[in-house]
Symmetry: C2
Subunit: 479 residues, 2 copies
């Protein structure tokens, strides 16, 4: 996941590259379905949903104990080991899209690519060194969209602050300095403001550069990157994240009254927007193929680690749903569409263009789902929708009793699905036991080693039961 | 702490540099002490120890709640922020010794340095890159005593194994390869054998180099270094630790039948042994100044991180004991001697030379104590001694009831105190809540950020009560 700030402003050049026809899948058989009333009471819906108990068990059996066991994990391992990380604009992201196009096609699914334009920021070479009071290398990661430094770097005395308020109070000390933000981690949603806006806030009081404590509650000297946002009309100064350890060390030094001087060299630059694609694979609905339950994760990652957790896992379970449904010979009433977004990390860039293109058909979007906070042990389904829709979903999650994840929470999350939810389409996201998510997030630690195959089986089962049943109900979710 | 393998063989050139006279400390007052029987029963000892309850409370009050609160933490922060890490043979270690000599002297203690010769291995520049099946930078840390590579590095195909047994079974595949050990972490004591002996075991079957999965149960792409031991008569090949993540990735690749090629460049070399010192500070005993309770930690560290946990914390609480006793105007019957060892990480090199020099007085060593597994929240005192001595110590730890650490465990640990314990001197070590110790151990993550001031207060209080009371009892511990 990226951050939930404002969207970048380079949404342009939108066109359809290829749209595969909806194949008929004549070999797929239809499951038993409840009767076909149109005006129905809550009790009717409960009865209708409860009739899916056997199908739900079949899906869970296949995903968790059957032939599909550990498949999403193996796919994720193969994908991330083969490609590595996949930042917006990179050759790796292009390779990843080709890889997935090929893999989904080989899986017998309807696949097409929808072209979009995405940001192309490159990190270049970067290094940081404390020179005074002693020489120490500082691990750092420049922030997405940051400008670089001159080739010789920027050497400046450091002003360490713990908050934006403290920066304002000490504005007179900031001129010509490098502001180091040593803000404590409160929550990602709150603390990420320092990464996103720290550079512009520091530039407003005359700083020449910033270093920001990584947005994480735990560190093994691990810097975390992420997108940042220059404010219009404010000088653009280089900005990077350093480790919790180094930020705290400089804070202690400053509290002792010690002078601190740091040199940072960053080769970062922004190139012209690049061509990319959202990857779309689907099982067309047998009755209402134009109506869609959309499942998604994003294929891009940051340019560190393997991007297994953020968001390879979300992408793989969204593919796994189609494989499971296909393996069981099922085909829902409506289309089950998996979309693997591009350039989420830059603010949901691919997804915004998808929305702009497809919003004309918004009335056909039944439910939009995204998994982008990890595929650890599933805890609940998060849901955004009106009361009537929630009543339906409360019945649907009861089908997850065999894997003990029958909890329905409020407010789905997901940068990529938020435009749809804001426009009134019901949305769902996966809530997992994510206590360590931000330890690895946007760092070299985002690797296959944090993933667990059994957790991914459970996520896949949940994801598949919910999406299949909603896609197969007689009526779309109320909105 | 280092590893508990065989000792290196460069113990030589031993002499006393300076020995301060035992000052009389006329301003220190004597606490109330129990009566002076010589032949005593267990109940007498219990009564004698119980009479220290008030003194113990004073020590605890001062260390945990009083003016000394957080002092050992602040000292550790100042020390490690100022010096950084301090590997055997480095200028930083020399600086650290000077810093501590000066700080202890300013604290009004009797301080002297005892010269020793220590290993001087230097890391040099090092890098590793997977070239096939794709290009990926591999984080690594060369292992202490490893030879380097030619300047252009060593490029070799990789054989990944999970154990020494598997290496033997696949010996025919090892010739000319780089063996990657991807052994699972079982416990430090068991798994460290791969770091210590992996290179020689691989060389025996014809490997040209090794990469070993870091000895840790948890990783954020963090390589861990440490000492390793070439076997006599076996070819010395370059050896380094890589991250858990990369070892697991190469294992997965090898399981898929993929060819893996890695290039490693290491500038490591061993220079002639260097001059160094054990730092000794003491409060001379008022009655038996020749009899000693020895408190210790090691001042050296690895050349990564800050060496705050391993073992700056142990060194600082061993200093803190003398400060607390002095602040309270106490002076025990026997000498309280704090020794800050040098070159522990190379196998207790400084401590071995201290033992060789002072073992002639072994009958005067009452108790040897070392803290070298972190100064997190104290859980128990670990003790090695005969039954009679244990009975005394069982009474002593009861004095720690105010901080709820009255547990006495068997088997003290500590590379530096083990020669004394093997020779029959009672030993004690600190058992702390160390579940994360090996996450940071010998890595860039060993920093002040893992330390907690209140935990250090508790460790200091425990350390002080135990050492002071034992030093002040009428009789030395039975042995």
């Amino acid at each position: 996941m990226a951050w939930s700030g404002r969207l970048p402003c380079f949404l342009s050049c939108l066109f359809i590259y290829t749209l595969s026809p909806c194949d008929s899948h004549p070999h797929w058989t239809l499951p038993v379905r409840p009767s076909n009333d149109t005006a129905r009471k809550v009790s009717d819906v409960a009865t209708e949903v409860a009739a899916y108990a056997d199908v739900a068990k079949q899906i869970i059996e296949l995903a968790v104990f059957g032939a599909a066991q550990n498949r999403s994990y193996r796919r994720l391992a193969d994908f991330t080991d083969t490609i590595g990380n996949r930042v917006s604009g990179s050759a790796n992201l292009e390779m990843a899209i080709k890889y997935m196009y090929s893999a989904l096609t080989q899986n017998g699914l309807d696949v097409h690519l929808e072209p979009v334009k995405i940001p192309h920021w490159v990190r270049g070479k970067e290094s940081a060194e404390m020179i005074v009071p002693r020489v120490k290398n500082l691990a750092l990661l420049g922030l997405g969209s940051s400008v670089g430094t001159p080739p010789e770097g920027i050497k400046a005395e450091v002003l360490v602050v713990r908050s934006f308020d403290e920066l304002k109070q000490r504005a007179s000390e900031a001129r010509g300095s490098r502001v180091v933000f040593n803000q404590p981690f409160v929550s990602y949603g709150e603390t990420v403001a320092y990464r996103a806006f720290g550079a512009s806030e520091a530039a407003k009081v005359g700083a020449v550069a910033t270093l920001i404590r990584s947005i994480t509650p735990f560190s093994i000297n691990s810097p975390h990157t992420g997108w940042q946002d220059y404010q219009d009309g404010v000088k653009r100064i280089p900005t990077a994240c350093i480790t919790v350890e180094d930020a705290e060390m400089m804070w202690r030094m400053s509290q002792r009254g010690q002078k601190i001087v740091v040199r940072v060299t960053m080769g970062a630059k922004t190139l012209p927007d690049a061509d990319s694609f959202n990857v779309v694979a689907e099982i067309p609905g047998w009755q209402y193929p134009e109506q869609v339950v959309l499942l998604s994760g994003h294929l891009d990652s940051w340019d560190v680690g393997q991007g297994a957790m953020d968001d390879g896992g979300g992408a793989m379970i969204s593919w796994e749903v189609l494989s499971l449904i296909k393996d069981l010979g099922l085909r829902p009433r409506r289309t089950l569409r998996t979309v693997l977004w591009t350039a989420e990390e830059q603010g949901g860039v691919g997804a915004q263009q998808y929305y702009d293109l497809h919003k004309v058909n918004i009335s056909n979007f039944d439910l939009v789902m995204e998994s982008d906070v990890g595929t650890f042990r599933p805890v609940a389904l998060q849901f955004t929708g009106n009361d009537a829709a929630r009543k339906v979903m409360e019945e649907v999650v009861k089908l997850l009793a065999p894997i003990n994840t029958t909890k329905l929470e409020t407010h789905a999350e997901g940068t990529d699905i938020s435009p749809w939810m804001q426009a009134g389409v019901p949305g769902a996201s996966l809530h997992v036991a994510d206590s360590r998510y931000f330890w690895f997030h946007h760092s070299e630690g985002d690797s296959m080693s944090v993933q667990d195959p059994q957790d991914m089986n459970l996520c896949s089962a949940l994801w598949a039961v919910v999406s299949y049943v909603v896609a197969d109900l007689q009526d779309m979710l109320p909105r």
